[in-house]
Protein backbone atom coordinates (compact mmCIF):
# COMPACT_ATOMS: atom_id res chain seq x y z
CA UNK A 1 0.00 0.00 0.00
CA UNK A 2 1.41 3.40 -0.96
CA UNK A 3 2.41 5.80 1.82
CA UNK A 4 -0.48 8.15 1.10
CA UNK A 5 -2.98 5.30 1.07
CA UNK A 6 -1.58 4.15 4.41
CA UNK A 7 -1.96 7.64 5.89
CA UNK A 8 -5.52 7.97 4.56
CA UNK A 9 -6.45 4.65 6.13
CA UNK A 10 -4.98 5.70 9.47
CA UNK A 11 -6.73 9.08 9.32
CA UNK A 12 -10.10 7.43 8.64
CA UNK A 13 -9.60 5.08 11.60
CA UNK A 14 -8.79 8.01 13.90
CA UNK A 15 -11.82 9.98 12.66
CA UNK A 16 -14.04 6.99 13.43
CA UNK A 17 -12.53 6.75 16.92
CA UNK A 18 -13.09 10.45 17.57
CA UNK A 19 -16.70 10.27 16.35
CA UNK A 20 -17.33 7.33 18.67
CA UNK A 21 -15.87 9.23 21.63
CA UNK A 22 -18.04 12.27 20.79
CA UNK A 23 -21.12 10.09 20.48
CA UNK A 24 -20.40 8.52 23.87
CA UNK A 25 -20.33 12.03 25.41
CA UNK A 26 -23.51 13.03 23.57
CA UNK A 27 -26.00 11.92 26.24
CA UNK A 28 -28.18 14.97 25.54
CA UNK A 29 -28.11 18.22 23.57
CA UNK A 30 -28.30 21.88 24.57
CA UNK A 31 -32.01 22.40 23.78
CA UNK A 32 -32.93 19.43 25.98
CA UNK A 33 -30.57 20.51 28.76
CA UNK A 34 -32.20 23.97 28.59
CA UNK A 35 -35.77 22.67 28.72
CA UNK A 36 -36.10 23.91 32.30
CA UNK A 37 -34.81 27.39 31.49
CA UNK A 38 -37.45 30.13 31.24
CA UNK A 39 -37.94 31.26 27.63
CA UNK A 40 -36.09 34.43 26.62
CA UNK A 41 -38.46 37.38 26.24
CA UNK A 42 -39.47 38.38 22.71
CA UNK A 43 -36.72 40.87 21.85
CA UNK A 44 -37.84 44.10 20.19
CA UNK A 45 -35.02 46.54 19.76
CA UNK A 46 -35.30 49.98 18.21
CA UNK A 47 -32.82 51.75 16.00
CA UNK A 48 -31.35 54.47 18.23
CA UNK A 49 -28.72 55.80 15.83
CA UNK A 50 -28.12 55.54 12.11
CA UNK A 51 -24.52 56.50 11.43
CA UNK A 52 -24.13 58.02 7.99
CA UNK A 53 -20.74 58.87 6.55
CA UNK A 54 -19.34 56.01 4.55
CA UNK A 55 -19.74 56.24 0.79
CA UNK A 56 -19.58 52.54 -0.04
CA UNK A 57 -20.17 49.09 1.46
CA UNK A 58 -19.20 48.68 5.09
CA UNK A 59 -17.26 45.47 5.67
CA UNK A 60 -16.34 45.56 9.35
CA UNK A 61 -16.78 47.33 12.65
CA UNK A 62 -15.32 46.93 16.15
CA UNK A 63 -16.15 48.53 19.49
CA UNK A 64 -13.56 50.21 21.67
CA UNK A 65 -13.37 48.93 25.26
CA UNK A 66 -14.77 52.28 26.46
CA UNK A 67 -18.16 51.11 25.09
CA UNK A 68 -18.58 54.43 23.34
CA UNK A 69 -16.13 54.75 20.45
CA UNK A 70 -16.17 52.36 17.51
CA UNK A 71 -14.21 51.91 14.28
CA UNK A 72 -15.79 50.97 10.95
CA UNK A 73 -14.20 50.05 7.61
CA UNK A 74 -15.60 50.62 4.16
CA UNK A 75 -14.50 50.02 0.61
CA UNK A 76 -14.75 53.79 0.19
CA UNK A 77 -11.17 53.53 1.43
CA UNK A 78 -11.67 54.86 4.94
CA UNK A 79 -11.74 53.83 8.54
CA UNK A 80 -14.14 56.02 10.50
CA UNK A 81 -13.99 56.40 14.28
CA UNK A 82 -17.43 57.20 15.68
CA UNK A 83 -18.69 58.48 19.02
CA UNK A 84 -21.75 56.25 19.26
CA UNK A 85 -23.39 58.42 21.94
CA UNK A 86 -23.47 61.60 19.85
CA UNK A 87 -23.36 59.89 16.46
CA UNK A 88 -20.45 62.13 15.45
CA UNK A 89 -17.37 61.10 13.52
CA UNK A 90 -14.28 61.59 15.66
CA UNK A 91 -11.61 60.59 13.12
CA UNK A 92 -11.22 59.49 9.53
CA UNK A 93 -8.24 57.35 8.54
CA UNK A 94 -7.59 57.19 4.79
CA UNK A 95 -6.46 53.73 3.70
CA UNK A 96 -3.70 53.03 1.17
CA UNK A 97 -5.80 50.17 -0.17
CA UNK A 98 -9.58 50.55 -0.33
CA UNK A 99 -10.13 46.77 -0.45
CA UNK A 100 -10.54 46.52 3.28
CA UNK A 101 -12.12 43.46 4.92
CA UNK A 102 -11.48 43.95 8.61
CA UNK A 103 -10.79 46.54 11.29
CA UNK A 104 -9.97 46.35 14.98
CA UNK A 105 -9.67 48.63 18.02
CA UNK A 106 -6.89 47.94 20.53
CA UNK A 107 -8.10 47.42 24.13
CA UNK A 108 -6.14 50.54 25.17
CA UNK A 109 -7.97 52.72 22.64
CA UNK A 110 -4.60 53.95 21.32
CA UNK A 111 -4.42 51.92 18.10
CA UNK A 112 -6.65 50.67 15.31
CA UNK A 113 -5.84 48.19 12.57
CA UNK A 114 -7.18 47.39 9.11
CA UNK A 115 -6.46 44.92 6.34
CA UNK A 116 -7.92 43.21 3.30
CA UNK A 117 -6.99 42.32 -0.25
CA UNK A 118 -3.61 44.03 0.17
CA UNK A 119 -2.64 40.96 2.30
CA UNK A 120 -1.34 43.33 4.99
CA UNK A 121 -2.42 44.40 8.42
CA UNK A 122 -1.80 48.13 8.90
CA UNK A 123 -1.72 49.54 12.43
CA UNK A 124 -2.45 53.23 13.13
CA UNK A 125 -1.82 55.33 16.24
CA UNK A 126 -4.88 57.48 17.00
CA UNK A 127 -3.19 59.41 19.79
CA UNK A 128 -0.45 61.22 17.89
CA UNK A 129 -1.37 64.80 16.87
CA UNK A 130 -1.88 63.51 13.32
CA UNK A 131 -2.93 59.86 12.96
CA UNK A 132 0.14 57.88 11.95
CA UNK A 133 0.73 54.47 10.42
CA UNK A 134 2.91 52.71 12.98
CA UNK A 135 3.33 49.30 11.32
CA UNK A 136 2.56 47.49 8.11
CA UNK A 137 2.50 43.76 8.91
CA UNK A 138 3.41 42.16 5.63
CA UNK A 139 3.92 38.40 5.48
CA UNK A 140 0.55 36.83 4.69
CA UNK A 141 0.29 35.46 1.15
CA UNK A 142 -3.47 35.86 1.07
CA UNK A 143 -6.09 38.46 2.04
CA UNK A 144 -6.50 39.61 5.61
CA UNK A 145 -9.94 38.52 6.79
CA UNK A 146 -9.80 39.45 10.48
CA UNK A 147 -7.52 41.14 13.02
CA UNK A 148 -7.75 41.40 16.82
CA UNK A 149 -5.35 43.16 19.21
CA UNK A 150 -4.27 41.34 22.36
CA UNK A 151 -2.57 44.55 23.58
CA UNK A 152 -0.64 47.49 22.09
CA UNK A 153 2.24 45.08 21.42
CA UNK A 154 0.53 41.99 19.96
CA UNK A 155 -2.09 41.41 17.29
CA UNK A 156 -3.65 38.24 15.87
CA UNK A 157 -4.66 38.00 12.21
CA UNK A 158 -6.49 35.44 10.04
CA UNK A 159 -5.89 35.14 6.31
CA UNK A 160 -7.02 33.72 3.00
CA UNK A 161 -3.61 32.00 2.94
CA UNK A 162 -5.16 29.49 5.47
CA UNK A 163 -3.04 30.65 8.42
CA UNK A 164 -3.53 32.79 11.48
CA UNK A 165 -0.56 34.75 12.79
CA UNK A 166 0.42 36.34 16.11
CA UNK A 167 2.54 39.45 15.43
CA UNK A 168 4.93 41.40 17.61
CA UNK A 169 3.99 45.05 17.06
CA UNK A 170 7.33 46.35 18.32
CA UNK A 171 9.34 44.47 15.67
CA UNK A 172 6.61 44.06 13.06
CA UNK A 173 7.52 40.37 12.78
CA UNK A 174 5.52 37.15 13.05
CA UNK A 175 5.83 35.54 16.48
CA UNK A 176 3.74 32.46 15.79
CA UNK A 177 2.12 31.00 12.67
CA UNK A 178 -0.97 28.88 13.30
CA UNK A 179 -1.17 26.42 10.43
CA UNK A 180 -3.73 23.63 10.29
CA UNK A 181 -6.72 24.83 8.24
CA UNK A 182 -6.85 23.75 4.59
CA UNK A 183 -9.15 26.54 3.47
CA UNK A 184 -9.13 30.36 3.72
CA UNK A 185 -9.39 31.51 7.34
CA UNK A 186 -12.32 33.92 7.54
CA UNK A 187 -12.68 34.90 11.20
CA UNK A 188 -11.21 34.61 14.66
CA UNK A 189 -12.23 35.24 18.27
CA UNK A 190 -10.07 35.55 21.40
CA UNK A 191 -11.02 33.64 24.55
CA UNK A 192 -12.08 35.74 27.54
CA UNK A 193 -8.88 34.70 29.35
CA UNK A 194 -6.78 35.56 26.24
CA UNK A 195 -4.87 32.24 26.38
CA UNK A 196 -6.56 30.79 23.32
CA UNK A 197 -8.49 31.74 20.24
CA UNK A 198 -10.82 30.07 17.73
CA UNK A 199 -10.76 30.42 13.97
CA UNK A 200 -13.36 29.63 11.30
CA UNK A 201 -12.44 28.78 7.73
CA UNK A 202 -13.65 27.89 4.23
CA UNK A 203 -12.82 24.25 5.00
CA UNK A 204 -16.06 24.45 7.10
CA UNK A 205 -14.10 23.75 10.29
CA UNK A 206 -13.62 25.77 13.45
CA UNK A 207 -10.36 25.26 15.33
CA UNK A 208 -9.30 26.07 18.89
CA UNK A 209 -5.68 27.20 19.30
CA UNK A 210 -3.33 27.74 22.25
CA UNK A 211 -1.87 31.23 21.66
CA UNK A 212 1.40 30.54 23.45
CA UNK A 213 2.38 27.09 22.17
CA UNK A 214 0.92 27.65 18.69
CA UNK A 215 -0.86 24.29 18.65
CA UNK A 216 -4.32 23.47 17.37
CA UNK A 217 -6.03 21.76 20.33
CA UNK A 218 -9.45 20.94 18.94
CA UNK A 219 -11.32 20.86 15.63
CA UNK A 220 -15.09 21.31 15.36
CA UNK A 221 -17.05 19.85 12.44
CA UNK A 222 -20.65 20.11 11.36
CA UNK A 223 -20.91 23.06 9.02
CA UNK A 224 -21.24 22.25 5.34
CA UNK A 225 -19.83 25.49 3.99
CA UNK A 226 -17.52 28.41 4.80
CA UNK A 227 -17.56 29.64 8.39
CA UNK A 228 -17.72 33.45 8.10
CA UNK A 229 -18.23 34.40 11.73
CA UNK A 230 -17.13 33.06 15.08
CA UNK A 231 -17.28 34.14 18.71
CA UNK A 232 -16.31 32.72 22.06
CA UNK A 233 -19.23 32.37 24.44
CA UNK A 234 -18.70 34.78 27.38
CA UNK A 235 -18.38 31.82 29.79
CA UNK A 236 -15.31 30.74 27.81
CA UNK A 237 -16.40 27.11 27.40
CA UNK A 238 -18.35 27.26 24.15
CA UNK A 239 -18.12 28.91 20.75
CA UNK A 240 -20.75 30.15 18.31
CA UNK A 241 -20.14 30.00 14.56
CA UNK A 242 -22.03 31.38 11.54
CA UNK A 243 -21.75 29.93 8.05
CA UNK A 244 -22.63 30.19 4.37
CA UNK A 245 -24.68 27.03 5.02
CA UNK A 246 -27.28 29.44 6.55
CA UNK A 247 -26.90 28.10 10.09
CA UNK A 248 -25.20 29.15 13.28
CA UNK A 249 -23.97 26.49 15.69
CA UNK A 250 -22.81 26.24 19.28
CA UNK A 251 -19.84 23.95 19.88
CA UNK A 252 -19.22 22.89 23.47
CA UNK A 253 -15.46 22.95 24.13
CA UNK A 254 -15.41 20.42 26.97
CA UNK A 255 -17.68 17.96 25.18
CA UNK A 256 -15.74 18.65 21.96
CA UNK A 257 -18.83 18.80 19.72
CA UNK A 258 -21.80 20.64 18.30
CA UNK A 259 -24.60 20.86 20.85
CA UNK A 260 -27.17 23.00 19.04
CA UNK A 261 -27.81 24.44 15.59
CA UNK A 262 -29.66 27.71 14.95
CA UNK A 263 -31.56 27.32 11.72
CA UNK A 264 -34.90 27.77 10.08
CA UNK A 265 -36.23 26.18 6.88
CA UNK A 266 -37.33 29.62 5.71
CA UNK A 267 -33.82 31.02 6.05
CA UNK A 268 -31.74 30.40 2.99
CA UNK A 269 -29.16 33.18 3.25
CA UNK A 270 -25.65 32.80 4.54
CA UNK A 271 -24.55 34.19 7.90
CA UNK A 272 -22.00 36.98 7.52
CA UNK A 273 -21.34 38.06 11.11
CA UNK A 274 -22.42 37.50 14.69
CA UNK A 275 -22.01 38.69 18.24
CA UNK A 276 -23.49 37.79 21.63
CA UNK A 277 -25.32 39.73 24.32
CA UNK A 278 -23.47 40.17 27.63
CA UNK A 279 -24.81 36.94 29.20
CA UNK A 280 -24.50 34.96 25.97
CA UNK A 281 -28.24 34.29 25.98
CA UNK A 282 -28.86 36.19 22.74
CA UNK A 283 -27.03 35.67 19.46
CA UNK A 284 -27.22 38.54 16.97
CA UNK A 285 -26.48 37.07 13.53
CA UNK A 286 -26.24 39.14 10.35
CA UNK A 287 -27.37 37.51 7.11
CA UNK A 288 -27.07 38.09 3.37
CA UNK A 289 -30.87 38.71 3.27
CA UNK A 290 -30.40 42.19 4.83
CA UNK A 291 -31.60 41.14 8.31
CA UNK A 292 -30.00 40.45 11.63
CA UNK A 293 -31.79 37.56 13.36
CA UNK A 294 -31.79 37.20 17.14
CA UNK A 295 -31.52 33.64 18.50
CA UNK A 296 -32.00 32.27 22.00
CA UNK A 297 -28.62 30.54 22.36
CA UNK A 298 -29.92 27.96 24.88
CA UNK A 299 -33.22 26.94 23.30
CA UNK A 300 -32.35 27.45 19.65
CA UNK A 301 -35.40 29.57 18.86
CA UNK A 302 -35.50 32.79 16.87
CA UNK A 303 -36.68 35.49 19.29
CA UNK A 304 -36.41 38.63 17.22
CA UNK A 305 -35.15 40.31 14.09
CA UNK A 306 -33.44 43.62 13.35
CA UNK A 307 -34.76 44.89 10.02
CA UNK A 308 -33.82 48.20 8.58
CA UNK A 309 -30.84 47.79 6.32
CA UNK A 310 -31.27 47.95 2.55
CA UNK A 311 -28.48 45.54 1.80
CA UNK A 312 -26.50 42.68 3.32
CA UNK A 313 -25.62 43.01 7.03
CA UNK A 314 -21.84 42.54 6.90
CA UNK A 315 -20.85 43.13 10.52
CA UNK A 316 -22.39 42.96 13.98
CA UNK A 317 -20.93 44.05 17.31
CA UNK A 318 -22.04 44.27 20.93
CA UNK A 319 -19.88 46.52 23.15
CA UNK A 320 -18.27 45.10 26.30
CA UNK A 321 -21.00 46.46 28.60
CA UNK A 322 -23.72 44.83 26.48
CA UNK A 323 -25.75 48.04 26.25
CA UNK A 324 -26.64 47.82 22.56
CA UNK A 325 -25.91 46.03 19.32
CA UNK A 326 -24.40 47.68 16.24
CA UNK A 327 -25.02 46.41 12.71
CA UNK A 328 -23.06 47.53 9.65
CA UNK A 329 -24.20 46.98 6.09
CA UNK A 330 -23.38 47.08 2.41
CA UNK A 331 -25.97 49.89 2.34
CA UNK A 332 -23.14 52.06 3.81
CA UNK A 333 -24.88 52.70 7.16
CA UNK A 334 -24.27 51.55 10.71
CA UNK A 335 -27.23 51.22 13.04
CA UNK A 336 -27.25 51.06 16.81
CA UNK A 337 -30.10 49.18 18.45
CA UNK A 338 -31.33 48.62 21.98
Amino acid sequence: MGEMEQMKKEAEALKTQIEAARKAAHDTDMASAASGVAPAPRVQLKTRRTLKGHLAKIYAMHWCTDNRLMVSASQDGKLLIWDSHTGNKVNAVPLKSSWVMTCAYAPSGNLVASGGLDNMCTVYNLKTPVIKTVKELDAHTGYLSCARFLSDTEILTSSGDTTCVLWDLETGKQKTVFLNHVGDCMCLSLSPDMNSFVSGACDSLAKLWDIRDGQCKQTFQGHTSDINAISFYPSGNAIITGSDDCTCKMYDIRADQEVISYQDAALNSGVTSLDLSASGRLIFAGYDDFNCNIWDSLKGEKVGVLSGHDNRVSCTGVPGDGMCVCTGSWDSFLKIWN
Partner: protein, 69 residues
Protein backbone atom coordinates in the same frame (compact mmCIF):
# COMPACT_ATOMS: atom_id res chain seq x y z
CA UNK B 1 0.37 28.32 3.37
CA UNK B 2 -1.63 25.14 3.03
CA UNK B 3 -1.75 26.22 -0.63
CA UNK B 4 2.01 25.70 -1.03
CA UNK B 5 1.87 22.26 0.51
CA UNK B 6 1.81 19.03 -1.48
CA UNK B 7 -1.17 16.69 -1.07
CA UNK B 8 1.11 14.37 0.86
CA UNK B 9 2.20 17.12 3.28
CA UNK B 10 -1.41 18.17 3.82
CA UNK B 11 -2.40 14.59 4.56
CA UNK B 12 0.55 14.27 6.97
CA UNK B 13 -0.53 17.47 8.74
CA UNK B 14 -4.13 16.24 9.03
CA UNK B 15 -2.99 12.85 10.29
CA UNK B 16 -0.72 14.35 12.95
CA UNK B 17 -3.56 16.58 14.13
CA UNK B 18 -5.95 13.60 14.38
CA UNK B 19 -3.32 11.66 16.36
CA UNK B 20 -3.25 14.53 18.87
CA UNK B 21 -7.01 15.10 19.01
CA UNK B 22 -7.92 11.43 19.50
CA UNK B 23 -6.32 11.75 22.96
CA UNK B 24 -8.56 14.66 24.07
CA UNK B 25 -10.90 13.97 26.96
CA UNK B 26 -14.56 14.68 26.33
CA UNK B 27 -17.02 15.44 29.12
CA UNK B 28 -20.68 14.43 28.83
CA UNK B 29 -22.95 17.07 27.30
CA UNK B 30 -25.44 16.58 30.14
CA UNK B 31 -22.84 18.04 32.51
CA UNK B 32 -21.30 20.72 30.30
CA UNK B 33 -24.57 22.01 28.82
CA UNK B 34 -26.12 22.26 32.28
CA UNK B 35 -23.18 24.35 33.47
CA UNK B 36 -23.51 26.66 30.46
CA UNK B 37 -27.24 27.12 31.19
CA UNK B 38 -26.54 27.89 34.85
CA UNK B 39 -23.85 30.42 33.94
CA UNK B 40 -26.09 32.18 31.43
CA UNK B 41 -29.10 32.25 33.72
CA UNK B 42 -27.02 33.83 36.47
CA UNK B 43 -25.77 36.53 34.07
CA UNK B 44 -29.10 37.14 32.28
CA UNK B 45 -30.52 39.22 35.11
CA UNK B 46 -27.93 41.89 34.37
CA UNK B 47 -27.93 41.56 30.57
CA UNK B 48 -29.10 44.97 29.26
CA UNK B 49 -30.44 43.57 26.01
CA UNK B 50 -32.63 41.08 27.88
CA UNK B 51 -33.86 43.13 30.81
CA UNK B 52 -34.14 46.29 28.74
CA UNK B 53 -32.46 49.64 29.20
CA UNK B 54 -34.49 52.27 31.08
CA UNK B 55 -34.95 55.45 29.00
CA UNK B 56 -33.24 57.67 31.54
CA UNK B 57 -30.18 55.44 31.63
CA UNK B 58 -29.94 54.83 27.90
CA UNK B 59 -26.91 56.62 26.40
CA UNK B 60 -28.38 55.90 22.98
CA UNK B 61 -31.85 57.27 23.57
CA UNK B 62 -33.06 59.34 20.67
CA UNK B 63 -31.86 62.92 20.79
CA UNK B 64 -34.13 65.87 20.19
CA UNK B 65 -36.94 67.51 22.02
CA UNK B 66 -36.88 70.79 23.90
CA UNK B 67 -35.54 71.58 27.31
CA UNK B 68 -37.62 74.15 29.10
CA UNK B 69 -35.53 76.18 31.51
Amino acid sequence: MARDMSDKDILKMELEQLQKEVKNTREPVSKTAKEICEWVEAQSAEDPLIKGVPEDKNPFKEKGGCIIT
